[in-house]
């Protein structure tokens, strides 16, 4: 019976102590409740600077790498052009040499084909 009695007394509706609502509100007012999503979009100034620096570094790396790649490609192309020009010069010399050889052999051929002089 005591237990039943105690439970009834515990669950009996009682009016809140006077001033409770005021005290609760007073403790809540100074706090600014910031939604979680808003907090992630507005980092601290230090973190923002770090991110900008990171982005700038990435852009610099890409720019320097691109410039070096372009220069390397240009060097390779220039070397190929020089090599091709040298090859063309040698080909010209080979043709000239063969032409001279051919002309001289033609002289021999002509002389050999002439009737006895």
């Amino acid at each position: 019976m005591n237990l039943d009695h105690d439970l009834r007394r515990a669950f009996t509706r009682k009016p809140a102590p006077p001033g409770l609502a005021g005290r609760v509100l007073a403790r809540l007012e100074p706090r600014v409740i910031v939604p979680a999503a808003t907090a992630s979009l507005s980092p601290s100034p230090d973190r923002r600077a770090v991110r900008w620096l990171g982005a700038a570094a990435a852009i610099a790396v890409v720019a320097i790498g691109g410039e070096r790649y372009y220069r390397q490609q240009e060097t390779v192309a220039e070397a190929a052009r020089v090599q091709q020009a040298a090859a063309a010069r040698v080909q010209h010399d080979v043709r000239l040499a063969l032409q001279i050889a051919g002309e001289k052999l033609a002289v021999v051929q002509r002389r050999l084909q002439e009737p006895n002089r």
């Binding site: 040698v90 043709r95 000239l96 063969l98 050889a101 051919g102 001289k104 051929q109 050999l112 002089r117």
Partner: protein
Amino acid sequence: MKITIAMWLCLLVGPASALAQGARLQLDHLDRLASEAAQSVNIAIDPAMLKLASAFLKAEGEQAALKAMLAEVKGIYVRSLEFERQNAYTSDDVNRVREQLTAPGWARLVTVDSKRDGELVEIYSWRQGTESGGLAILVVEPMELTVVNIVGPLDLTKLALLQGNFGIPRLPVDAPPAGRED
């Protein structure tokens, strides 16, 4: 003692370098005549240059024939000097070339000696066993001196394969082995 060693070195190295020279003629002594010549051609193409030239040739048409030829040739050397007057060169200039062509390995294929025109043309072949290892053409005219030296297995037969190209006419492939003189 040092002199003896030097003499032995000369005796040993001298012939070795001569053999190493092979089918290549030394034509540097003709360079001094270039300044006196009205027209001069000086071509010296070594194996590296031939390889470079060959690399940029296409494997079709006229270029294919040249490419195949260059694959075997080890060097092309030409000195051609045309003068405006006679006796611009000396007989010593000619003899220094001909002396090299009397070395073992060289065989004279053709001689055309025209006393009337004062023209001498000689064709020599460098033999490595039964194979041809080079070609030399010597042309001596009153106002012209030309030496063509092709090092490598290029004989008249192979040169004939290029006939019609590069100004090479039909060639006497079955040229008589000995010379003919007017």
